[in-house]
Symmetry: C2
Subunit: 335 residues, 2 copies
DNA sequence: TTTAATTACGTAAACGTTTTCGCGTGGCCA
DNA sequence: TGGCCACGCGAAAACGTTTACGTAATTAAA
C-alpha cells in the first residue's frame, strides 16, 4: 500500500509489459478483452490512478481547460462557471479559473502562461478596460479558444453571445410604452461589442419612436462606486430623466441609492430597468425589471463548443451562437 | 519561431548543458550570475516558458491547488474563491475548481482524483448532505488540506471558520431586544458544525432570556425550493412566530415570498434576519438585517494557511482560525 | 608546496506515461 | 506446403524537466 502504484507496478504483478498495461487502460483495440479485464481489475484493486503529469507530458493533452474572466464574484460569471463546470465534468475535464479584475495586463499574462501546454483550451470573457484585438488575433492561432458574452469580433474563433441589441431595443420600447420620454442610459462595457450593441438597441428604439438620443442622458461606468453614485445623482437632478436603463448589474445599487437619497419614487417618478442576473431582483424595493441573460446556458454552450473543437468534431454551420435573454417586467417599470 | 523552445534549445544556442540552463532558470546558487544572465535574456528573447507537465513529473510539484466547494453560484463561495485566487496569484499558484453540488459522492470522487499528483493541496468547504468523517480522517494524511467555513472537526487539519455561535447568539438577542418572543429558526447545514453552532447560539440566547426553544418553530432546509416556501408558510400560519432567523441565504427568497403571500408585514408583523452575503440586502423590500460573513477574507486566510503548509512554514500556534462575522441591522428587524 | 575547500558546470538517470515499430503465433486460403 | 494476414503483445524511445553526483579549475587553508 505504501508502494506507489503505477503502470510499472501493474505490469510486474501481471507479468506483462508496461506497454500492454497502458494500452489496456486506454482500451486499445490491440489488447484482448481477457488481458484488459485482468488489468482493469488489478488497477481497481490497487486503486491505481494515472499520473496526470506523465500523461500530459507524453500525450500533449491535459484534460484541462482554463476559464479567464473578470471576476467570479459576479452573478453572471459565477453562473457561467457553474455551466462550464457541469459540461467539463461530463467530458472528464478539469477547470482552471483566472480572474483578470478587468485588467488587460493580467489577462494577457494569464493567457500567455497557459500556452505552454498547461491547458487544452480556453474559455474567456474578456476585460472591458481595453480592446486589444491584435493580441487575440494571434492567440486564437495558438490554442483553441471560445469567447463567451464579452467577445472579440472578426476573429477566427467561436463566440457565444446573447441578443444584446434586440433585447435592449425591446426593453427600451417597454419603457416608452410605459410613457417614458426621457430615458437615461447607464453605459457599461463601452469598449466591447456587447456594450455597444446594448447602447445601439437603446438608441435605435428611441429613434424609432421619434425620441432624441442625448449624450447628456448617458452616464458611463467608473471603477469607483462613489463616482457612479454621484454621477447618477447629478444626472437625476440636472436632467430629470423619467427612466434609467442600466446596461450592467453594477449600476443597480447606486441607481436605487440615488433615487432614495433624492426622494424620487420608483417607478412613479423614475422607472428603472437593468441587465442583471440577480436572484433577488424580485425582492428589491421595488422589485426590479431586468434583462436576464441565460448565464448558465451560456457557460454550457461555450464549454460544449470548446469540447467539440478539442475533439475535432465539426462545428455547426457557423461560429456564432446567440442565445436569447429575457425581459422580466416587474414593479420598477410599472406604468 | 516555429521550433518549440525548450531547455534543450536554450542549451544548444548558448553552448552549455541543459542542466546548467535548468539551474540558471531556477536561480540556483550553483550557477554564476554571468551565466544566469545569459540564460535569462535568451529565455526572454525566445519567449521560453517551461513545460509544466515535465516539471511536475520530475519535481512532484504542480504549483496548483484545488478548491472543492458545493457551488460557485453562491455569494459566499464566489467571494471566497475571489480571495483564494488573489492569494494564489501572489504565490504563483493555479486554481482548479470543483463543484460538489452538495453531493458527497461527487465530493469523494473529486478529492480522490486529486490524489494522483494533480495538485499540491486542497481547499475545501464540505458538502452538507452527510458527515463522512472517516473519509477525511484518511484524506488529510495523504495531502495538505485546509477546510474553510464548512469544516470537519477533530481532524489533523487547519480550519478557517467564523464565530457562528457568538454571532447567532448576538443576532438572537437583537431580535429579543426588538420585542420578539417567538422566534422561528430556519435551519440549514444541520449536519455540519457551522449549522449546529448557529442553532446552538440561537437556542442558548433564547434560554438566556427565559424563552422556550421549540421544535415546532424550526424549519429544516430542503433541496426543493417549493418545499421550503410551503414549510415557511405553514410555520407562519400555524405557529405565528414574530421573527424568522434564517441560518442560510437560501431561505431569504422563500421567507420574503411567504410573508408577501400571507400579507404579513415585515418587520411589523414578523421580523426577518439571515446569514447572508447578498450585496443587495440593503435594497430588499424591506432592507434585510444580515449576519455577513467575511467571505473574501475567509478565502484569503484559508489560502494563506495552505501555502504556509506547502512551504513548510511554521503555522501559528493553533490550527483554527476564527474570523468575525458582522451583524448588520436594517429595516427587516426594525423595532 | 601540499591539501582541502569552493565554485561553476556537465553527465546521466529519473519522473510515469504514450506510441511507434516490430515480432511471433495461429488461422486461413490457394 | 507455402504464403499472407490478423491478432496480441513487447521493446524501446520519447515527452521536457529536475537533480544526484562527478569533475575540473580556482581559491583558501595549512
Amino acid at each position: 500500500m505504501a508502494e506507489t502504484v503505477n503502470i510499472k507496478r501493474l505490469a510486474q504483478e501481471l507479468n506483462i509489459s508496461i506497454a500492454t498495461v497502458s494500452k489496456a487502460l486506454n482500451d486499445s483495440y490491440e489488447i484482448s478483452l481477457k488481458t484488459k479485464n485482468r488489468v482493469w481489475t488489478l488497477a481497481k484493486e490497487l486503486n491505481y490512478t494515472p499520473n496526470p503529469a506523465a500523461s500530459n507530458l507524453r500525450s500533449h493533452k491535459t484534460k484541462t481547460v482554463a476559464v479567464v474572466i473578470p471576476c467570479v464574484a459576479n452573478n453572471f460569471f459565477s453562473l457561467s462557471i457553474k455551466g462550464i463546470e457541469e459540461i467539463a465534468r461530463q467530458y472528464g475535464y478539469h477547470v482552471l479559473i483566472y480572474q483578470t479584475h478587468e485588467n488587460i495586463e493580467a489577462e494577457v499574462a494569464f493567457t500567455n502562461s497557459l500556452l505552454s501546454g498547461r491547458v487544452d483550451g480556453i474559455l474567456t470573457s474578456v476585460s472591458s478596460s481595453e480592446y486589444n484585438s491584435e493580441y487575440y488575433t494571434n492567440l486564437v492561432k495558438k490554442i483553441p479558444l471560445v469567447f463567451f458574452d464579452r467577445v472579440y469580433e472578426n476573429l477566427d474563433a467561436v463566440k457565444v453571445t446573447t441578443d444584446d441589441y434586440e433585447i435592449a431595443f425591446e426593453a427600451t420600447v417597454h419603457l416608452i410604452e410605459c410613457g417614458c420620454t426621457k430615458i437615461a442610459y447607464l453605459y457599461g462595457l463601452e469598449n466591447l461589442p456587447a456594450g455597444k450593441a446594448r447602447f445601439a438597441g437603446y438608441a435605435d428604439a428611441l429613434k424609432a419612436h421619434q425620441l432624441e438620443v442625448s449624450e447628456q442622458l448617458v452616464v458611463k461606468y467608473s471603477d469607483d462606486e462613489e463616482t457612479n453614485l454621484q454621477q447618477i445623482k447629478t444626472l437625476l437632478q440636472v436632467h430629470q430623466p423619467d427612466a434609467l436603463f442600466s446596461s450592467i448589474e453594477e449600476f443597480i445599487i447606486p441607481a436605487y441609492c440615488a433615487c432614495k437619497e433624492l426622494c424620487l419614487q420608483i417607478p412613479s417618478a423614475v422607472k428603472i430597468l437593468s441587465f442583471s442576473n440577480l436572484s433577488t431582483a424580485p425582492l428589491l424595493n421595488p422589485s426590479l425589471t431586468t434583462i436576464t441573460q441565460p448565464a448558465f446556458e451560456i457557460g454550457r454552450e461555450a464549454a460544449k463548443c470548446l469540447f467539440k473543437i478539442l475533439h475535432n468534431k465539426q462545428l455547426d454551420d457557423e461560429q456564432n451562437i446567440v442565445l436569447k435573454s429575457m425581459l422580466i417586467k416587474r414593479d420598477s417599470t410599472a406604468c
